[in-house]
Amino acid sequence: MRKLLRVYTALLKANLSEALEYRAQIFLWLISSIFPLVMMSVWLALLSEAKQIAGWGQADFVSYYVGMILVNHLTGSWLLWDWDDDMRTGGLSTKLLKPIDPFHYHISGQLGWKALLVIFIVPVIVGVAVLSPLVTFPLNFLTSLTFILALIFGFILTTVIACTFAMLGFWSTQVRNVYQLWFGAGQFLSGFIAPLAMFPPAVRSIAYVLPYRGYLGFPLEILTGHLTWPDIEFGLITDIIWITIFFILYRMLWKAGLRRYEAVGA
């Protein structure tokens, strides 16, 4: 355990300094935040004709989408692309020679970027929240803690999901496209396309038990004060169940895939 901690500290340092060299990317991430803002303006256009939509007013939508930029960046992951590159280029073979599981390289790589994001994006969002009367995040001590917990769960969830899909790379070259299908379909049920409150109740009930909401809609609903206690508990438990399922799947596929990989390499 202590050894692993030392390895992580070293990897994190290396990854953070690497991330710092690409500071320009931060600006590009802000640009990539345009999509939520585009969707927000359509809701605002709708609101100019009606006072409220499904009980949501102007401030609700603005807070939701500004919060989305934050949550999206913090739980998002491009782990799959890293894994896929490793498998295609043979980088995996080099990593297998080292004494720690390749999993840790990928995780620490993600954490390095997250650290940088926290430094750059969180102040921007907090600034917007303080300056704009339309952006309100009604958090108290307890809900702040659950929000952070939900964010961490969300990050772990995207991580294990990406790892699971990455393992398909042992058998197929189309992993990126398969992942895009999974991810794209999920955007309807994660709260990305629109707040889940805007969907018919049947769609909402399905979304609540699927894994997608865990990494976007759920933390976001806590942040914007749209969730109360029994629902928060339900969300956290759903997160834990899906994390467990995907982690087991990932490890099983990893073991099976590795046997295959070694067989091909030998």
Binding site: L28, A50, Q174, Q180, L181, G184, F199
Partner: protein, 262 residues
Amino acid sequence: MRKYLRLLAIFYKNTLINELEYRLNFLSNMFLSLFWLTWAALSVRVYFFHADSIQGWTYYQTLIVMGLFFGMNGYRQMILTPNLSRISEYVRMGTLDYMLTKPVDSQFMVSLRNIGVYNWGDPLLGLGLVIFALAHLGVWPSPMQIVLFVVMLVAAAVLLYSLNLILQTTTIWLVNVERVDTLVQGLLETGRFPVNFYGGWVRAALTVIVPVAFMTTFPTQALLGRLNSSTALISVAAAIIFLIIASTFWRFALHSYTGASS
């Protein structure tokens, strides 16, 4: 002119043959394009659960804009990105020197040498969505409206190209202007919806400063017979003026380019 067409045929044929070798990839990408188109069409539907029309646009009218967004974005990914985004690389790697020695126009070479085959289905599928939406609306445009529509589309394509070339040409001096393409992509995203969906100053900015309205909203209006003639004229004029500016700027940049080896 004929020489240039023959060159294009050779360039593109090679790329296509290469891509077709990986048939699974080819089919998989096509399927993915279809998926994202359906995704986009369904995602717009959510808004119309709550209203019949938004700022005077019905669901199927909005779908036409969405279809054109796919078309424009596909055009960007097929023609603009594989070519113009490499200017920076050409400068860094010294490839530009080599290109300048060729007996063909340099602007032609940096603009059309490559073609991206990854998204070749997008413009076709986008057009398919436009036709699908028109069928649902039940109003077929008159021949005059179709002509105007095509003119507006060409103007939009030229305008997008010119703005891209101007932005990318700056890399001749500032070698490290990376990812201008991502910026353009981000801005073009706003073209998914009619420009009328955006409030006050954003709408003004999307019409005058970043001419996204020209890319999808105006051609749709032409198709629906809603475009006034002054907007059409401005569109065409803007395309011609920006093409001249971009071309002049490219030549000007080459004059101050001293080569990679000196």
